[in-house]
Amino acid sequence: MWLTVVDKNITRDADGIGSSTSGTGYDRRTILKTATAGAGLTSIAGCLGGGSGGSGSVTLGAMNILSGFASLYGEEAERGYDLAVEEINNNGGIDGNDVEVIVRDTEADSGTATQQMTSLIEEDGVDGLMGLDSSGVAQNIAPQIKQSQMPLMITHAATPYVTSPEGESEDSVGNDYVFRCSNTVAHDMYGAAQVASELDATDWATIGPDYAFGYDTWAYFQAFAEGMGVDANFTTEQYPPLATSDYSPYISSILDAEPDAVITPLWGSDLTTFLGQAEDSGWFDQIDHTLFSVGMGTDLPSDGSPLPEGEWASTRYDPFVPDTEENNTFLETYMEEYDTLPTYNAEGAYRAVYLYKKAIEEGGSTNAGDLVDQFSGMQHTGPVGEYEFTETNQASVASIWGEVTYSDEYESNVLEPVERYEAAPADVRGALEGSDLPPGL
């Protein structure tokens, strides 16, 4: 184990010194890694009396939620990483080197995520980072990523502020090192406003988690609805804390306001708890339409209360759309391996590993500066379809919404009919013009 780590650090340090973007030839990370390599070498010299390691490898660090109310997301991401690693290593690796992914638990907490990030960079000597499920965590990590000068490919966290360049708004923390290959809240709400425009509903309400993601979802939904001329009144909003065990008081407040439709970004086991209690309270009899913006992330593999048929849900990736060979192959392989439909978090994680593969092979280096250069403006095709990274490092992916329908064939909910709203950056920016919200793409 020691041999591999040390060998890897030496290889990458050679890259870092030779092609640093800092101007001096050395940056903080390079020095740290050199020190780590030195310490490692000293240990080996002491313990083994010398000797060198085997062939090089690429090590990627992943940070996901593996415990707590949303641990399911981390487990799905792990499946995506594992599948990509297996495929890549069975097909020649990355430039002939095997790839390894080290997955760490953020516990949906910024402090823990920071510790994991530091440990992955300084102890494991990873070549790049990926993952992140929580918007709040992503927002706190992004500035530290810049300090560490280590590329991060976000695969799930959806706050637009991490791909909104610093200075664009008060909360913007986007920078050269942070990329995202999945959707943002702006994408999702752009599609949600289009769904809203087609529904027979005027009075809208929301119930969302009591942190940035819940508030952002409602703010963007209102902004897009107004920007796109949707005939909508915004009546009431409820923000229960994360891991609430009984939503009844919040459900009761929403029902008292008698909205026609509700949009909810509740997620993880919170969504499962909410669904059961909403059903018991007569929610689905009284509210004409409920839009679940994170619904299909957990609904597919869940044994809990599923999303009711006929309601609306968004996903960042749909297993059946687009109908391309790449997507069909991914679906088939994933189902063979895990016996369930892939969720968007699994697909995002899977794709992130392939993005690193492409960047390393095309740039011929695992140096952070080279990876960042490669990711910038990169065009890529994955199961989700074709996309490219915009000038804010955000993937130009579509917004996908559909009606929840149970599939006997897959013994699971699917979206049918499903609609892809091509959220072109110019269109999204145009729809947000009247608001002070950054598009984040």
């Binding site: 707590g68 009591d210 065990s245 009984d246 919040y250 209360s305």
Partner: protein, 297 residues
């Protein structure tokens, strides 16, 4: 907002929701309070035992026999046995240590982590839900709000537990041993009470109550590995407000926190968390032993 204007906004439905929330909280807080009152052990693993109750009930219903009532009983007893085993094997050796409070805290916290990982290993991380018993799976309209009959049943069950436990502690021979031992362990021992066995029995009873609470809550919320963590903080707030070791304190504290969680969010978004904490701070400052004192009170 003028306080006078608040009361007309609180409907019957809000009160029923508050009672329902309070009942579930009582079922977890009472076992925690009982164990502390008699053994002096602050059982951090109590939330984990509550979670196990939900998982055991789920497993019985889905894998053994589709009988919810049997699942509740099996779940509660199984958790009681787990709790008793924890007490005998890991907590009993610590009673005589000089720093036993801290050691007990660390040991019980260790069981939080062990249980969490064991649950993830056995059941996975995905959320589960348990179907409600058919007999109570219908909705009733109270004060303009809909409730399942099951939710109301849990309120009644909590009240029955309160009364039953109170009678047991106050009126039975075993109850008198429990009260006596909680007052003076050495004296009870000298008078012939088998204290170690009594401690194990009380730990079993406290754990049984946690398991019962978890099993009863299972049809009303999703079951996941974080279920215990979500409730243990509320339980601690309740027993601090009511008084550690007090049954009636646990009841009053639970109903207070339940009502706050039901009513306050209508006026302040984060108030459902802040108000119980604020109440706890006030109680700690003005009456550190809690509103009620001692076992059996």
């Amino acid at each position: 907002m003028n306080p006078v204007n608040i009361f007309p906004l609180i409907g019957v439905g809000d009160v029923v929701i508050g009672l329902s929330l309070g009942s579930r909280l009582f079922l977890i807080a009472v076992g925690l309070s009982l164990i502390f009152g008699v053994l002096g052990v602050l059982n951090f693993a109590h939330g984990a035992l509550y979670m196990l109750g939900a998982y055991f009930a789920l497993s019985v219903v889905t894998n053994v026999v589709d009988n919810f009532w049997l699942a509740i009983v099996v779940g509660a007893i199984a958790v009681g046995i787990v709790g008793a085993a924890i007490e005998v094997v890991t907590i009993r050796p610590l009673y005589e240590r000089a720093e036993s409070d801290l050691d007990q805290l660390i040991v019980t916290f260790g069981f939080v982590l062990i249980t969490h990982e064991a649950v993830r290993f056995i059941w996975g991380s995905q959320p589960y839900s348990t179907p409600m018993p058919d007999a109570l799976n219908f909705t009733m309209s109270i004060g303009g709000s809909q409730f399942t009959a099951y939710r109301l049943f849990v309120v009644i069950a909590a009240a029955l537990v309160m009364v039953g436990l109170w009678l047991f502690i106050k009126r039975t021979y075993f109850g008198s041993l429990v009260r006596g031992t909680s007052s003076d362990r050495e004296m009870a021992s000298m008078l012939g009470v088998d204290v170690p066995r009594l401690y194990t029995a009380v730990f079993f009873a406290g754990s049984f109550l946690a398991g019962l609470g978890g099993a009863l809550a299972a049809p009303m919320q999703s079951i996941g590995p974080n279920l215990g963590e979500a409730v243990i903080i509320d339980a601690f707030i309740i027993v601090v407000i009511g008084g550690l070791g007090s049954l009636s304190g646990a009841f009053v504290g639970a109903m207070f926190v339940g009502m706050m969680q039901s009513i306050v969010p209508q006026f302040f978004d984060a108030g459902s968390i802040a108000v119980p904490f604020l109440a706890m701070v006030i109680v700690l400052l003005l009456k550190p032993e809690g509103l009620f004192g001692g076992i059996g009170e």
